[in-house]
Symmetry: C4
Subunit: 267 residues, 4 copies
Amino acid sequence: MIISRKRLAHIVFESEDAASKRFDVALLIAILGSVTITILDSVSSLHNAYGSVFYVLEWSFTILFTIEYFLRVWLSRRTMGYVLSFYGLVDLLAILPTYISFFVVNSHFLAVVRALRFLRVLRVLKLGRYLREAQVLTEALYNSRLKIQVFLGSVVTVVLVMGTVMFFIEGPESGFTSIPTAMYWAIVTLTTVGYGDISPATPLGQFMASLIMLLGYAIIAVPTGIVTSEINASQKRQLDQQRGCHTCNAKGHDEDAYHCKYCGTRL
Amino acid sequence: MIISRKRLAHIVFESEDAASKRFDVALLIAILGSVTITILDSVSSLHNAYGSVFYVLEWSFTILFTIEYFLRVWLSRRTMGYVLSFYGLVDLLAILPTYISFFVVNSHFLAVVRALRFLRVLRVLKLGRYLREAQVLTEALYNSRLKIQVFLGSVVTVVLVMGTVMFFIEGPESGFTSIPTAMYWAIVTLTTVGYGDISPATPLGQFMASLIMLLGYAIIAVPTGIVTSEINASQKRQLDQQRGCHTCNAKGHDEDAYHCKYCGTRL
Amino acid sequence: MIISRKRLAHIVFESEDAASKRFDVALLIAILGSVTITILDSVSSLHNAYGSVFYVLEWSFTILFTIEYFLRVWLSRRTMGYVLSFYGLVDLLAILPTYISFFVVNSHFLAVVRALRFLRVLRVLKLGRYLREAQVLTEALYNSRLKIQVFLGSVVTVVLVMGTVMFFIEGPESGFTSIPTAMYWAIVTLTTVGYGDISPATPLGQFMASLIMLLGYAIIAVPTGIVTSEINASQKRQLDQQRGCHTCNAKGHDEDAYHCKYCGTRL
Amino acid sequence: MIISRKRLAHIVFESEDAASKRFDVALLIAILGSVTITILDSVSSLHNAYGSVFYVLEWSFTILFTIEYFLRVWLSRRTMGYVLSFYGLVDLLAILPTYISFFVVNSHFLAVVRALRFLRVLRVLKLGRYLREAQVLTEALYNSRLKIQVFLGSVVTVVLVMGTVMFFIEGPESGFTSIPTAMYWAIVTLTTVGYGDISPATPLGQFMASLIMLLGYAIIAVPTGIVTSEINASQKRQLDQQRGCHTCNAKGHDEDAYHCKYCGTRL
């Protein structure tokens, strides 16, 4: 069976008819399967038992993704446009490590090979193509970038000042061995993660830590507030785009409205 | 005293008059009592001291629930409809384990018997009948399923990528023995639980962990935002149902509406 | 200087003129001082060094609060009304422990005496009189009691089911010694506190724990959503109570508005 | 090249033309560089290896900031106004420690010198000049100061009462050595940080701790609610400032307004 190049491009790039949907599902399964194998391969007991099976499967997936990559290169209207695009680079990154690890035979670079093997996990980024909703989130983040900057600036300042203060009060005995370590502790505390690998031992240190926790809680409430009001705003924007009254020009009518709620004109 | 089948069905299935309310309360007490006994029985000191009391009580509750089950089967208009419904299965699950554990006399299956004994805790699901408010929450969850999918997708991607990165930076010495373990650590960190059973020890690992915490805090703020705007929306919907139009009797007008949105009458 | 009973009642119960304000401030200082001493007395090194000073100060505060109590009893219009009121009981509770501990000379009741000594910390509740803003919060809690019930019901169910499941998967080796302990762990995890005194050790347990964390995060987002929408609603209620237009009856005008924003009538 | 005093004052105090922007950027780099060096100097391995390099760089930055300080003093219209202003004191604090540590040659004051060395980290406060957005946050905090007071009052009361209760139930064996320590634990738990350095060991203590966590979660949801509604309000205020009346030129009309709220003109 021979299919035209145009038909093939349609199957690869669109997702409307049955054939292209089947292509998308196959790709999705290949990505998830490949990532799962990389994860399982990192468990040493599984690596010892099924290492060779994983190796064969890994090469199968890599060859499949290689075919997909060259199909996309060949079928793109502007070849370099695809190759240099974000997903073009992600697609390349998804196949390169396996080939490089094959050519690095020198045992001195074993660590590199090992690292390359796990880089394959980044194939999960290929899934980004199917996450159209993510764009809304990205836009929301972009809209509130100024607030996020102020928030991050405040967090960094609090972390810096509090880290330095705790480095003095507690000192190396309680694990506050340097300002960077104390700053790491301050972030662990501010974000309420609280591992407990480093924790204040002196009464003054515990008092200061309590202040940081309460102060930090107020600061850390900010991202939630930002996200909530962004979601509210985007919902309102959707509502506003619905329908306008041609008499009084008012917007924001309910979906089931027959008359303008302000002037009574039939919509 | 003999009561008609219809009257009995009313007592069992409705909760309007005194008799059916008393039936509901008795069932509620039986469920809570039975679950409490299962919980207490799991404490080894209490099991050793009062094991036989628990055993007798457990059988009493089971016989009671068995009678309830057969009553419901007999009184249902469509017997199979009830047996195969969600609460029909829950009711069956609430009595089966005790009977099975009675017939498994072979000591090889002790673990199974023990497991069955604690399965009884699921009787708490029988309470679901009385939680009518829960439907609102379920609806809210259903309405925001798209946002929840994007959120969970982002969390899984961040957890996967960060888990792999930390598995490299820290390695087995700090407890990051495999990618799944590192992913477990990433979830513990992202959700700000922070047990501290696994925590980064190298400066680079601590720096990356700090980034994950701050990044994670932004991502994790999303469910709060979703829930808040859903609650706001549901409150607005309740408010909207209050005002009615005196011409067409329609409800659901906005607070600032002057005209009925269906017929245009001045409100 | 002799002052009338009426004047004294005014000083004790009101807080308008200079004398009654001075009475309030003196009482406030006495409460804070007394609570501070109780706290400091619990630190064994301070108790050993300054125990006798604390003892004298404690008796001074107690005598002061006793005088205040009998003043209030004498000056109240309805004596029993005050004695049996919430603050009447709190005021009694604030002086009783010290007297009882004085009469318990028998060394067998030392633990009781010690307990009574620290009960004095509850004197902080006397401060409630000055927290008029707290009423708004109490009202907000009352308004959302139905949502809080559903929320707590869901939390208890999740904690019960997940506690039982983890008790099976992990068992006593990882610290999950009984269902109550496992439920304690589930609450520590759901609320993202995460002490780490008990944490899952098996892969399956860590997977289940990850699910609980993500599930729990969604559930735990609910109180924030409830509180946020309650605050929004109370702010809106304040706004709505401001001014209405006498032509179109519309409310919600800004504080600085001269004309109705809907019909243009001069307000 | 000689430039007038007026021109210099413009470069130092304004940030409009190229020269003054370059001055700002140079100062920014100097601040960040100086703080970075102070942080790195606190890591003992880096201090041993590069201590002398840090010493030279530190003096260079100090001399630079000294020149900046005297420039500002000389160029200010009201000299004492600058010296006693917030940023005047911060600028002085940024140079003093290095000079004092130079004159303290007596080895008995080594701890003081060490402390002074790290005080330099506070130079980060000089950055405040560039954070104009922070004013919005400060204003939001000021607007909700009453709510924050009630919130902090509730937290302190809960922490005090719960700390005392847990001090009794658990006692010194589980780490609850005094009421202040128990209060530190209560804050660590309420803010969901949960280090795990102190955690309840008795069943009753674990039950009480569970109650505190759930209670605490409700209380701690309040700051998020406050921040969210403040952000919403400030966004609304920004939006309100957009639409203007073409008769009286007033701004700040609501989105749904038909008439100018000041002069009644149809918008």
